[in-house]
Amino acid sequence: MATSNAVEAHDLVKDFGDTRAVDGVSLAVPTGSIYGILGPNGAGKTTCLRMLLGIIDPSSGTRRLLGHERPLDAAEQVGYLPEERGLYPGMTSIEGIAFMGALRGLPIREGRRRAVELLDGHGLGNWARKPIRNLSKGMAQTVQLLGTIVHKPKLIVLDEPFSGLDAINQGKLEELIRREAAGGATIIFSTHVIAHAERLCERVAIIAGAKVAFEGAVDEARGRLRPIVRLRTRATDGPWRAALPPTARLDNGDWTFELPSSGPEPLLKALIDGGAGIETLSIERPGLHDAFVAIAGEAAAREMATEIGQAA
């Protein structure tokens, strides 16, 4: 069944006792895209993903996964890496990957064959026949990731895939995500690190306080903000000051303000005509982080920043 969206969710609500973990989340993930779900821990990202995958049922709302109303019906075309990684430690890497494939309908022999290939391709060939309990945490995570894609799923869902990985492995994971997407798979991942989403995603959902604060293209999120102007002038005062918006901040002789809606030309003219004496001038497109701050609020952004600090 052809559908332009690999995943759709309408007004998903999930209550755990008295707590509303997810409050009216709607998403549309276009087929073949890389889609980021952004938000601080506790925002409801994991609960959202678990509902989309059918591990739990929503209290209300509907979802469609690869055209199926019941997500488990699509399970054989889906790969899922949970936030809490889990494998049988007694299994060898090959068996672990083949087992994960078998759960998704891949014949076990084919799973073993592909496991050997994948492990070799990721520099784990020497560990293929060793029990997973002997692997380092990073290696075990890679094994689980390979198990997630061994059956060549059309939809790959990764919950906080970058956490626990060093910079090199994070880079490898980004590469893998791009490669899978280039191969036609749809990828959804959650993260509380904005930089990953900014580098990888075409579309994002920003979840804060159990609600979707923004859903759409990354450019659209950035487009919500005006470009930022940073200006240093020789003159401290003059008629040119009238061209600056009232919200402009002066910090150590540097002015920072949003580009007025009239655009850069009237501003430049006023500065030159008014004899401001421009020393430096930059007009920057806002990053996803700025957009996140504007959308989810300072508090959520600070929380994300602290978490990154802790992670580092």
């Binding site: 755990f16 707590t19 678990r50 399970a75 949970p82 889990g86 078998a102």
Partner: protein
């Protein structure tokens, strides 16, 4: 043919569990465990048998003339088959000597064979000396023997036609009581195997919960598949064990039970059908009780909780067995039908019934009934698991719980 996905997924789970269990070192002990008592038993049994042969029953020495002794011994021969619960007194003739008192004292002190007491005075003035109770079996038997010997001596032998006996293969009375023995033995075997093997299902989901693999599995296959897979993996393992024990234990059974199974009366449905039903009913009792245990155990989040649960669960099994055994001997009574209708005791009760009644139709009905209940229990257990464990169990820490857990 493509198997339905539920079964296919269950097979993937079952294969993993079976391999993980059977390929572990602990499984060797599992296989050997039940053989320890057999090995020890064979050893002690051998010693016991040789002890039995050495220990002879105490003897009553009879100081009497040959005629009196013959009369008493003849009475004993006629009495002995009537005694239930063991053979009667053993008599040994001793010819009288001049000094009766000295002879009596000497006999009482004798060691080989040891003498329980001494009967002297013949039939005319019988006198017993010995370390027994005055109203005990030995004294009463001796009294009876002397009375009988005296009657035989005084009265002419009974005349008339002797009792004519026509032997049939069996009568309904003898068979019913004998078959209830087979019923009880069959139930006991089924029960011991179930209690030994089904308890393991309590802890089946602890592994996945503690290593977090449950999240990967629950995202890929229906929870029902997980339960079915685990249940059948353990059933297969149980059968593997039973086959090994049966093979290894066959010699021991032959050693213990003279004539082996043939010592038991033939069950109403015949031996081959009875054994076939035994296999089926063991599987059913394992599936029924096992699915319940799996469901209960799935709710537990720690090994400690499972261990705490195992005692009450064993007690519950005893009650199930008690319910099933109520009906033995009266296969059509209300209690027997109740035992067969209550799903958990049904396999035991029906297996007992197979020993006592030949009809096969009730077994078919019972099997359908039991399979329905296995499905129902699994379904409920899966639903309960989804509701209470996947959503809020401590194995999954929700974001807000994470903060609380840091402390």
């Amino acid at each position: 043919m493509k198997l339905p996905r539920l079964i296919r997924s269950a097979y993937v789970i079952a294969r993993r569990d079976f391999v993980a269990t059977v390929m572990s070192k602990a499984f060797l002990f599992f296989l050997l465990g039940p053989l320890f008592p057999v090995i020890v038993g064979v050893g002690f049994g051998g010693i016991g048998a040789s002890i039995d042969r050495n220990v002879e029953r105490p003897v009553v020495a009879v100081i009497a003339n040959p005629a009196d002794y013959r009369a008493i011994d003849a009475a004993r021969l006629r009495m002995e088959p009537l005694l239930e619960g063991g053979p009667g007194v053993v008599l040994s003739q001793v010819a009288p000597t001049a000094d009766l008192a000295a002879q009596r004292a000497k006999l009482l002190a004798q060691r080989n064979p040891p003498v329980l007491g001494v009967l002297d005075g013949g039939l005319d003035s019988p006198h017993f000396t010995g370390a027994v109770r005055a109203d005990g079996m030995t004294v009463r038997q001796l009294g009876f023997l002397i009375d009988q010997a005296r009657r035989d001596r005084a009265a002419p032998p009974a005349t008339g036609k002797p009792l004519e006996v026509v032997l049939t293969q069996s009568s309904s009375g003898s068979l019913a009581s004998a078959r209830s023995l087979t019923a009880r033995a069959g139930q006991a075997v089924l029960f011991v195997l179930t209690i030994l093997l089904a308890g393991m299902l309590l802890s089946q989901l602890i592994e996945e919960k503690s290593n977090k693999a449950i999240e990967v599995i629950a995202a890929a296959v229906p929870v029902e598949s997980i339960f079915i897979g685990k249940l059948f993996a353990m059933l297969a393992m149980a059968w593997l064990g039973i086959i090994v024990w049966t093979l290894a234990g066959a010699a021991a059974i032959a050693f213990y039970v003279p004539g082996g199974l043939s010592a038991l009366p033939t069950p109403a449905v015949g031996w081959s059908m009875f054994i076939g039903l035994g296999i089926v009913y063991f599987s059913m009792s394992y599936l029924l009780i096992g699915s319940l245990f799996l469901g209960i155990g799935a709710q537990a989040s720690t090994v400690r909780e499972v261990q705490t649960l195992s005692m009450p669960v064993t007690m519950a099994q005893m009650m199930i067995f008690a319910l099933a055994s109520l009906g033995v001997g009266h296969p059509d009574s209300a209690s027997a039908i109740a035992g067969a209708a209550f799903p958990l005791s049904s396999p035991f009760a029906m297996f007992g019934r197979a020993a006592e009644l030949p009809a096969l139709m009730p077994h078919l009905i019972a099997l359908v009934w039991q399979i329905l209940w296995v499905a129902l229990i699994l379904r409920l257990a899966a639903r309960l698991f989804r509701r209470s464990v996947l959503k809020s169990g401590p194995a999954f820490r929700w974001p807000w719980q994470k903060k609380a857990a840091v402390q």
